[in-house]
Amino acid sequence: MRRHLTPRLLFSLLCVFLAFLIPLSLYIGVVKIPLSSLFSSEIIIEMRAPRITMAFLVGSSLAVAGAVVQGVFRNPLAEPYLLGISSGAILGYSLSFFFREELAIPLAFLFSTFPISLIVLASTSKEKTILLGISISFLTSSMASLLMYLSGERLYKIFLWIMGCFHFSTWKQVLFFFPVCSSYFLLVSLFYRELNSLQFGDEYAEQTGVDPTKYRKVFLLSSSFLVSVSVVFSGVIGFVGLVVPHLVRLLTGRGNYKYLIPNSILLGGILTLLADDLSRLVLAPREIPVGIVTSITGSPILIYLLWRESKWHF
């Protein structure tokens, strides 16, 4: 059995890595900025810096939301878009092209938060939540597909948005998103004990004095709100939410949320940032949408993780 890193060690390593990654990411890009003027170039300040900030923040948000959702549903295959968030967003976005295009982003946001909020508030049991969530997910997904089919030449645009992109990041976005995601991080960090209990099942939670229904609602609502907001800013970025928590668990040998959350924040942010760097680097000057990079690199990682898991469960 491989030796594990202690969570604190992993955290420190990730911090160091991030410290190197930031200037590197600022440097990468079609436009080569000389190192001497790295921090004064307008392109860097107005375009790349907000971009890598958003990539990091969105990545960490997705990773933590994924970890939370996996614990709440006790399902290693759960991921942040689970209950119809991404398909709802796509539906809203596509819908706007039939009315007013400026409404694309607000509609995407509405359709991604609305259904899931209703579901979470309305259902009392975990099973009901999952069933409703999956049904809504299928429903919105099929409606979105219909709209996409009818959208004609808009299709390419919708497709690009779905695939995820940090291209248009601005400091205004950072200003809005940062408080949202930090409050979420704060929330789940404060209640990590409840998460720890929840992940062993509703009964176990009750036995340790944690109201499973109440906390499930709190965690799901906050997670889906955060994920919806992130979809608005960056489209759908897959795999990060699913794979990063598992990677952290694998590296540290622990699933305790006390350590899982901070490490997921760092690892999720770093990996997404790396993906964004790759998206700019590989086919320059064209950019591969970030979602595609995360899927391509995420799939083999996922396969490896599943293979490892299967070895432990005879």
Binding site: P76, Q207, R254
Partner: protein, 260 residues
Amino acid sequence: MALLNLMGVSVKYNSVEALKGVSLSLTQGEILGVIGPNGSGKSTLLKAIYKALRFEGEIKIRNRDLLEMSRREIAKHISVVPQEFHPEFPFSALELVLTGRTPHLSPLRPESEKDLRIAEESLEEMGAIHLKDRDLRKMSGGERQKVLIARALAQEGEILLMDEPTSHLDMRNSIETMEKIKEIVSRGKGAVVVMHDLNLASRYCDKLLLLKEGVIHSMGRPKKVITEENIEEVYRVRVKVFGDPPIVVPLGVIGDENQS
């Protein structure tokens, strides 16, 4: 004062009456064993006591109505050792025992040295301190069970509810565990233990409650409850009972012609 009091408790699942009119009381230093065939309502009874499902009737903890207590409060007084436990994600034994401290902690009152110490001492008591950093998924059923009991101890509830605590343990460990429970209870706690092993139950429990189809068939000291008549009526098996505390020797199954 009684630690726990049940009066006319009934539980209904989808129009099936899993429990009907159950009344009992538990005092300090007492181990109450709950026995009965599968589906007789044993686990249901435990779940009702820590308010994990809806019930009719009254349940009082130290004279406080269960319905008026928050989940946290209940967890401070009642420690539950579940029968089954399937971890999905990696978690160490010590971390699991620490979750037992959750009812005593809050965002404003995080874990301290004291909590860590209590967790480690609980593991030591159960002879499982060597497992403290081991992943729960990589333990045997018996080892996990010990850790779960340690968690219940760390929770510091004065009422212990256990659902078949020895089901995964071999003979030596079973006896060790029951001895440990006896010792713990003698320090001023009370325990309600669902048992499947009648002999262990008769040896270690102060009182027994025999359930049949959700209703109390008989309750009292082991000698009074474990009789050939009672066992035959409830379990539908022919047995020989002798000794004090009573030992049960199974002889055979009662055939269909005696079914009511």
